[in-house]
Amino acid sequence: MTTPVRSRARRGRRGLVRQVPLRTHWLLLSVLVLTLTSALLLQGWTRHMFGTEADGAAPSQGANGSVPAQVRDGGPVIDAATGRTTRPAAGTLALTFDDGPDPHWTPQILDVLKREGVHATFFVVGTQVADHPELARRILAEGHQIGIHTFTHANLAQAAPWRRSLELREAQQALAGATGTTTSLLRPPYSSGNDALTDADWSALQDASRSGYLTVLTTLDSEDWRRPGVPAIVANATPKSADGQVLLMHDAGGDRSQTVAALAELLPKLKAAGFRFATVGEATGLPQVQHPATTADHWQGLALLGALTTSDWVLTVLGWLLWGAGAIGLLRMVALVVAARRHKRLRRRGWGPPVTEPVSVIVPAYNERAGIEAAVRSLLASDHPVEVIVVDDGSTDGTADLVESLNLPYVRVIRQANAGKPAALNNGLRHARAELVVMVDGDTVFERDAVRMLVQPFADRRVGAVSGNAKVVNRGGLLGRWQHIEYVVGFNLDRRLFDLAECMPTVPGAVGAFRRSALLRIGGVAGETLAEDTDLTMALCRAGWRVVYEERARAWTEAPASLGALWRQRYRWCYGTLQAMWKHRGALGQRGQSGKLGRRGLLYLLVFQVLLPLLGPVVDVFALYGLAFLDPVRIIGLWLAFQALQAATAVYAFRLDGERLGPLWTLPLQQVVYRQLMYLVVIQSVCTALAGSRLRWQRMQRYGTLQVPPPVAGG
């Protein structure tokens, strides 16, 4: 929301003309955003579409007409392709555990089983295997069997065919990656006995069977997921007959201490009663349940585990970054408002004795025919004595001729061959007769008292430069309103903060006043950056001068009216600011006024105008992710809260400037186009800076609609 407003670009600069386009960064950005989106989709699927309901909690309902009778009345191990079933041999109990592996409970259960010398079958959830591959390996190493329980504990009956297939394949890959084996056994989540199969269940089983799976249902439910107490679990799990049974228990999905305790009690008891424990495969005489995975499958599985771990890791890091960014943003809003209040109080004191000495106004102009007359006339109408120096930087549209033909008093025209804005400013500085100089863009119109207000702070001997208050004149349309908001907030909040902290990084080229002697001592305006105003201001700060903000010195300026023009302007500003920051990076370690600029101003710019915008694409992707997978109400609430805060600070800034609040309704809309444009500009600038490419000095189309608007009501 901050904008150091500065002068416009309209110069073709020698030495900066050759443009080496650097576009690969957009490709890179697309790939990275796509990758992040995929990682988030994976994360959303594995973590937030995970079926968290307990297996028994979703009783199957619905027609079961298509379930063959032989299956409905058959054994719990089903080959849905043929409709054949089988069951454990009599007196045999196939102990099965669903939902694991769990880092806390599975090892305890494995310990009990080992102590009792019992082998069981674990129906594992793919994401759990991916999280704890070592547990899956231990399960197999201790002689147990593994079946899959889908990848995300999905209800296969309600899933689309592609999702059914995906759930099985990913679970199998996770298993292959973790253990190097595959399994032919499937237990669908939310299943129970054969008689509970519905048509939907049956179609899921048939799909699974086509993929090569045998389905293992249960005949005896310990109902341990209800946590009914150890005795109840033992009672539930005790067979009522000598028939072979497939007994259902759970080793994950919540507190399983009762399961562990019940198991320790149950195993000796049933063994004493003559039951034999076996894996599902052994109990039903299946030839081979576990197969070694092929090398390709094993590596593919490892890749899946790697992808899951990576996305976990990336998301954790980015999540923290976003929280950090949110916190910093919040702090900044508070700091801005507090600083603005204080600044306002301090300004009431005034600057000391009134400054009445004449002022030289330098107007660098390159092809400014459309607006130059209005600009010069507005300066001459000042209530402060001025001389105006128009420096024509080799215009081709007759700007200089136009000004000369006006025959205005106190106006001089200096012509130079096109050499760029810094050279024009330096030329004007050499010709200026007064010690106080005001620099104005040729497209900016001053209010009557603006020059007087602008030089009053020079009553303070320590002040070397003063920033005025630039306002957008063309506020029509969304783009105009957005920029208007940005200017008002940037000037009334950010600039006041900079002023209080004595680290003003920019006096806008559109409206600023300087001590001529101070400028000459630092060597005038340098031409190494595209933001000569920022560069100049930073150099002044580093030379020990104070740079202050005078909000009463208002000038009206024309903002870009198209997205393309806005893009070019912001690209130049951002890139120029980066250049100036880099040029003055030495201020970070210096003492005094220079150190204040370095440690306060430069760091502020770095965080809020470079680093946070770079996070912009991540914020957008995360917002969509939150809407899709997290609680949308909470995400929207969070967003609204942040918007409300931003709106509140904007309202405050508008109040400070006596602006009508009307245009603020467009503030929430900034989130869609404007914000993206702003962060893409930063990305482009940073990439250009890193690559060291040259770039053309862009220019802006002018329309010559400038004039000071009538004073606003309520001002």
Binding site: V31, T86, A242, A283, G285, Q300, G523, E528, K583, A691
Partner: protein
């Protein structure tokens, strides 16, 4: 790109910078070496990212081929279990031990005898389940399908599904 920024601030070394030759623009690297290096760094970011995408795609599209083993015939239930008794249903067994103890203990006692024989209860033909799902012919008096009840000898029956 290396800027001697202290020199600029010193009026002694640059008494009149306004006419001094301009320094090269900040960041611009005329040699193009940095651009190449940045491109390489970009590739260093893009290649793993693209690799991740490819892996993810392969994971989402692929998966190990699984082949269900041939399902053996259901093993015979214990002789005392009426054929076709639903699992878990208390069977009215012809157990020669009509002890009036609770059903659970009574049933639990039954397997002990089987256990003593150290073999799965491969009973006579009567022990066959009523449903022979593979053939779909409910045969109560069919001849036993030898071997199917024995978990130890399943390999004699090749899975018909496997290639």
């Amino acid at each position: 790109m290396v800027i001697d920024d202290t020199a600029q601030l010193d009026p002694a070394t640059h008494p009149d910078r306004t006419v001094a030759a301009p320094l090269p623009p900040v960041f611009v690297d005329a040699s193009g070496r940095r651009q190449r290096r940045v491109r390489r760094a970009g590739r260093l970011l893009a290649v793993p990212a693209a690799g991740y995408l490819v892996l993810l795609a392969s994971n989402l599209l692929g998966g190990p081929a699984v082949h269900a083993p041939f399902l053996p015939q259901p093993p015979a239930q214990s002789a005392d279990t009426p054929s076709g008794a639903a699992p878990g249903e208390p069977s009215q067994a012809a157990e020669p031990d009509p002890a009036a103890s609770p059903a659970a203990t009574r049933r639990a006692a039954a397997p002990t005898t089987h256990r003593a024989t150290d073999a799965p209860p491969t009973g006579p033909g009567a022990a066959e389940s009523t449903t022979a799902p593979g053939t779909g012919t409910p045969t109560s008096a069919a001849p036993p399908t030898p071997g199917h009840g024995k978990p130890s000898s399943p390999n004699s029956h090749k899975p018909t599904k496997s290639p």
